[in-house]
């Protein structure tokens, strides 16, 4: 394992300290327990949005803390859910008296840890579970689908609605709706290496890729021979269109998200391919995003997300945001 680090044990605290120093105009960083809050928290009368999850998906979630998006983020160890003490401390730091909305990716660890924190909280708490990963079969008796890159879109849209003064119930409903209107699937060309483990999570041959990869290196639908960008786009966009039931004529947001080790050059090329396929399905791409937003350490690969838009969601997507990773409007 080669990484630009001092040691796996100190990496998180050092990285978070660096993040706090670079973005001191936007966030406050607390190191024990670890959580990141927007500079001007708490905002009286505003529902506080809190997300979190294992580290290794940067800029998600700390990079999305700030005006118009999250009030706080709780980073866990690499690929490991944060713990309730972090969440409780974050809740106390950002609670504006209007309730707390947790945005949680659907992994057993994250779900249970946030659940315990919510049980311990004093005020009203609601949770939006994201589960946009098309690679996993949805089924009632199982864990269900994973939350992946659409989490970013949920956080942006719900964050904008919270900034506008939406109440807890409506924000929860909006988050659930955006999640349901989204689908994602990813491919990996290489594995990532968890620093504490020191070894690649899996191995792929020089001509293989994993179709339907998870953002922690969980295996996907199947291992296949390398495909072209166009063939990948065709399979993924097709799967999402089917599952989310996107009909010809609908407006969508198209996100091509890098897993961390794939250069922008390729991501924009994959976007070009995905846009072509989406248009072939009759979709109108009215909003786009390309870059590394929901990553898997240094994994080479990418995911494609489609979210059904309407006028409200589009306006919320466009609404001003000031975070380390998103800055517009």
């Amino acid at each position: 394992m080669k990484k630009l680090i001092n040691s796996p044990d100190t990496l998180l605290a050092e990285s978070l300290a660096g993040f706090g120093a670079v973005h001191a105009d936007i966030v406050n960083v607390n190191l024990d327990p670890m959580f990141v809050t927007r500079k001007d928290a708490p905002r009286a009368g505003k529902v506080a949005l809190i997300s979190g999850g294992g580290t290794g998906h940067e800029p998600m979630h700390a990079g999305f803390v700030g005006m118009g998006m999250l009030d706080a983020a709780c980073p866990g160890q690499v690929f490991t859910s944060p713990t309730p003490d972090q969440m409780i401390a974050a809740m106390e730091a950002v609670d504006g008296g209007a309730g707390i909305l947790l945005i949680v990716k659907n992994y057993a660890g994250d779900v249970m840890n946030f659940e315990m924190a919510a049980e311990m909280a004093s005020g009203p708490v609601e949770t939006v579970l994201t589960n946009d990963d098309e690679a996993v079969e949805e089924s009632t008796h199982s864990q269900g689908r994973r939350g992946v890159a659409a989490t970013v879109i949920v956080e942006k849209i719900v964050g904008a609605a919270a900034e506008r003064g939406g109440d807890l119930a409506s924000l929860k409903a909006l988050g659930d709706a955006v999640n349901a209107a989204s689908g994602t699937m990813g491919v990996a060309l290489t594995s990532c290496t968890v620093p504490a483990a020191g070894l690649p999570t899996f191995t792929l041959a020089e001509d293989e890729m994993e179709m339907g990869i998870g953002i922690h290196g969980e295996p996907g639908r199947r291992r296949v021979a390398m495909m072209t960008a166009s063939a990948i786009a065709e399979e993924i966009v097709g799967a999402i269109v089917d599952d989310v039931k996107l009909a010809s004529g609908e407006e969508v947001l198209l996100l091509v998200n890098g897993m961390g080790g794939t250069p922008l050059l390729e991501l924009y090329g994959l976007y070009d391919a995905a846009a072509r396929v989406a248009k072939g399905h009759g979709l109108t791409i009215t909003r786009s995003l390309v870059g590394n937003y929901c990553t898997s350490l240094e994994m080479a690969g990418a995911s494609i997300t489609l979210t059904r838009l309407d006028a409200e969601r589009t306006a919320l997507w466009d609404a001003p945001v000031r975070t380390a990773a998103f800055h517009w409007g």
């Binding site: 866990g76 490991t80 713990t83 249970m112 315990m116 864990q143 483990a197 070894l199 295996p219």
Partner: protein, 214 residues
């Protein structure tokens, strides 16, 4: 420990017992840390050993505080410590298990039936927290068979606990996971031991060894 009713352990006795249990659990998890993560790498995300070690390091670090408590409160405190330190799925699961077991009574169990009672409380908490049950290829596939084996009132409870745990662990190999990260693999999760089942087996062995000596 015998299978017969004994006088409740005294406070001093509890302290020694709790200290021994903490040391034994901490020791086995630390020793098998890499093995647990290795198992998790095959069907999960490779961190189970590190998660558990982080949790039991914290429990060991708080041993002075924990051993000063009555047995039930000590269990609960160890559970809270795990919850606050482990992260991942195993933290809330083992944490809720200990917290629930700690609520059963303040005194240490003195009969096999009381031990089973604690185990049942722990199992129920895991099921509730994990929204799961046996057959999903998780720690429950060790904890439940062990509780059941002890419920039958075996002559050699410690040996029975160890043997049923070992057999139950091995049985997770052929299971297809439906809960936890391994569930994302579907059929491909078969052929590997479940890491949480393995850590449960280790903890049962460690507890058995302590009770054998006490």
């Amino acid at each position: 420990m015998s299978t017969e009713t004994e006088a409740p352990a005294e406070a001093a006795g509890d302290t020694a017992l709790i200290a021994a249990l903490i040391a034994a659990a901490h020791d086995t998890i630390t020793t098998h840390r890499d093995e647990l993560s290795e198992l998790d790498r095959a069907i999960g995300d490779g961190d189970h050993g590190h998660n558990m070690a982080r949790g039991f390091d914290a429990v060991a670090a708080a041993a002075d505080e924990i051993t000063a408590l009555p047995f039930g409160k000590a269990l609960a405190k160890a559970g809270t410590t795990l919850v606050m330190k482990v992260g991942g799925a195993s933290g809330p699961l083992y944490g809720s298990a200990l917290m629930a077991a700690g609520k059963v009574r303040d005194e240490a169990p003195t009969t096999l039936a009381e031990v089973v009672e604690l185990l049942d409380a722990a199992v129920d908490a895991v099921k509730k927290r994990g929204k799961s049950d046996v057959g999903a290829k998780t720690m429950l596939d060790v904890l439940v068979p062990v509780a059941d084996a002890l419920r039958a009132g075996p002559a050699e409870p410690l040996g029975t606990a160890r043997e049923s745990a070992a057999a139950a662990l091995e049985a997770t190999r052929d299971m297809v996971a439906t809960k936890g990260r391994a569930a994302f693999l579907g059929e491909r999760s078969a052929g590997h031991l479940d890491p949480g089942a393995r850590s449960s087996t280790l903890l049962i062995d460690a507890v058995s060894a302590v009770l054998e000596k006490s």
